[in-house]
Amino acid sequence: MQAALTIDQLTKTYEGGFQALKDISLTVEQGDFFALLGPNGAGKSTTIGIICSLVLKTGGKVSIFGHDIDQDFSQAKQLVGVVPQEFNFNQFEKPIDILIHQAGYFGIPRDIALVRAEKYLRQLGLWDKSHVPSRTLSGGMKRRLMIARALIHEPKLLVLDEPTAGVDIELRRSMWEFLREINASGTTIILTTHYLEEAESLCRNVAIIDHGTIVQNTSIRALLAQLNKELFVLDIREPLTQCPEIEGYPLTLVEPNVLEVEVEKSQSINHLFEVLSGQGIEVLSMRNKTNRLEELFFTMVEKNLTGESHD
C-alpha cells in the first residue's frame, strides 16, 4: 500500500545558518494516526511547513501518496489539509466565507462548497456562528474553524500543528472525538502536540524529533513498553507519622494520608499491598502519578541532549 507521507533525507537550513532539520527520514502509512512530538524549536513546525509548502526545504524529498511535492505539487497539495499552530485566517471575514474561499482555491464549485461548509461547521459546532465576523469567535472556535477549513477539500492527509493548544478540557475531548471519527473514515492524521496525553490517547505511531533529528520512530505501544518504572500515589485510611519501609519498594510519605511508591515493571503490586496490609496500612485508592509518555519523552530528549543515544 502506498504510504501517505514519505520524507527522505529532509534538511532545512534557515537564512542565518540555523539548521532546523538534519537529514530526517520518516514514513507515515495510510490510515495512521501519527504523532510528531518534540520540544519547542525541535523542528516539528518546520517539517509540517515543508509538507504544506509554507517552508522551502534545503534538501531531501517529500512525497504525499506518491506525489512528489516538487514535481507534482498540484496533486500533492490536493491531498493535504493543514491546521497551523497560529490563527491564519482573515479575521474580518465570516466563517462561511473563509470556508467557501478555501474551497474555491482548490477548484471546488461554489454550490458544493456551500454544502460542505455547512456540514463541517455543523459537525464542529460552529454553524450558528457562520455569519459573524471571525474575529469575534473564541479561541476554541477559531481552532475549530481552522479544522473545518482544512477539511473543506476533503484531504486524504490531515496535518494538525498543536490543534488543541489553549483549548479547555471539555472542548479538547470533543475535538479528539471528532478527529477519531475523521481518522476512522480513512483520513490519515499527523498531529503535533505538547499534550502528551493527547498523543497517547489518539495516536498509533509516533516520531520524537529533537534538535532537527528523529530520536525515536515507533508505535506508541512499543514506546510505552520501554518504560521500566511507574510512580503510583496511594491514598491510605489512617494518617501516618513515619514513612513505612518495604524492601524493593521505595516509598515516600507525601502527606499523612498519601504515599508515593516507585514500582518496577517486574515487581508485583499485589506483594506491595500484602506487605502494607501486614503493617496495618489500608489503601483506599491508587493512581498513576506521571503521564507515562511524558516520562519517556523527557528521557529521550535528555538523552539526545547529552548525546547518549540516537536510535
Binding site: S53, F89, A103, Y105, G107, R110
Partner: protein, 257 residues
C-alpha cells in the same frame, strides 16, 4: 488542477477582492471620489476659470482626463498593495500558498481585483466629471485600451510593493514618495510644452506622462507625446512588471521561509 478548477480559483480570488473593497467602501470608494470632486471644484472651476485655455482646451477639460487617470492609478495600486500586504500580515496568504493554485492565477486574481476598484472609481469619477466639464470621447478604443493597461500596470506594481513590504510603513512609502510626485509631474495639471526643452525631456522619463497623454488623446484628441510610443511604453512596463511579480510569487520571496 484542471482548467475549470483554475477558473474557479481565479473567480474566487477576484470575488473575495471585490467583496473586500465593497465591504469597506467608506475607506476605499468614498475618499477618492471626494478628493477628485475637490480637485474639480478648485482646479477646474475656481482656479481653472482664471487660467483660461491649455493646449487649446478650456482648463477644466484639460485636467479632467488627468484627474480620472489619477484616480485609476492610485486606486488600482492601493487596492492590491493593501489587500496583499494585509493577507501577508494576517498570514491568511497561507490559505493560497497551501492550495494547488498556480502563481499566475494568484497574480491574475489580485490584479483583476485591483483593476476592478481602479476602473470602478475611474468610472464614478468620469460620471461626476460630466457635472463639471463638457466633453465627448475622441477615440473610444484608445480611451478603453489605455485605461485598462494603466490599471493593470499599477495593480502589478502594487503587488510587487506588497511582496517586498515588511511593515505598514513600507506600503505607504512608494505611494507617498514615488507615485504622488510622478502623478503630479506627469502632465495632469499642465502641458509639458510649458516646461521648456530640458524639463520637458526630463518629464519623458515619467511613465505616467504617457498614460495621461494617451488617455487625454482618447478623450479630447490632444497629446504632448506620440500615442504609438505611449502604448509601446505602457505595454513594456506591463510585461516587465508581470514577469517580476510572477517570479516573486513563484520563488515565494518573503512569503515562504
Amino acid at each position: 488542477m484542471t482548467s475549470q478548477q483554475k477558473w474557479i480559483a481565479f473567480i474566487t480570488i477576484v470575488r473575495r477582492e471585490v467583496q473586500r473593497f465593497l465591504r469597506i467602501w467608506p475607506q476605499t470608494l468614498l475618499p477618492p471620489v471626494i478628493t477628485i470632486v475637490l480637485y474639480f471644484v478648485i482646479f477646474g472651476t475656481l482656479i481653472g476659470s482664471r487660467i483660461g485655455e491649455m493646449s487649446g482646451l478650456p482648463y477644466i477639460q484639460f485636467v479632467a482626463p488627468g484627474l480620472i487617470m489619477m484616480s485609476v492609478i492610485t486606486n488600482s495600486y492601493s487596492n492590491v498593495v493593501s489587500s496583499f500586504f494585509g493577507s501577508k500580515f494576517q498570514r491568511n496568504i497561507e490559505e493560497l500558498l497551501v492550495s494547488p493554485v498556480p502563481s499566475w492565477i494568484i497574480l491574475s486574481g489580485y490584479v483583476v481585483g485591483g483593476m476592478s476598484r481602479g476602473l470602478g472609481v475611474g468610472l464614478i469619477v468620469t460620471v461626476l466629471s460630466l457635472y463639471f466639464a463638457d466633453f465627448s470621447i475622441h477615440s473610444l478604443p484608445v480611451t478603453i485600451a489605455i485605461v485598462l493597461m494603466t490599471s493593470l500596470m499599477f495593480s502589478l506594481a502594487g503587488l510587487i510593493n506588497a511582496v517586498f513590504a515588511r511593515n505598514f510603513d513600507d506600503i505607504s512609502i512608494i505611494p507617498t514618495f514615488v507615485l504622488t510626485p510622478l502623478i503630479y509631474l506627469g502632465g495632469v495639471f499642465y502641458s509639458i510644452d510649458m516646461l521648456g526643452e530640458f524639463w520637458g525631456s526630463v518629464s519623458k522619463i515619467n511613465p505616467i506622462l504617457y498614460m495621461v497623454n494617451a488617455f487625454r488623446y482618447g478623450i479630447a484628441g490632444i497629446s504632448d507625446i506620440n500615442i504609438t510610443w505611449a502604448f509601446t511604453m505602457v505595454s513594456l512596463f506591463c510585461v516587465l512588471l508581470f514577469a517580476i511579480a510572477l517570479n516573486l510569487l513563484d520563488k515565494g520571496s518573503r512569503l515562504r521561509s
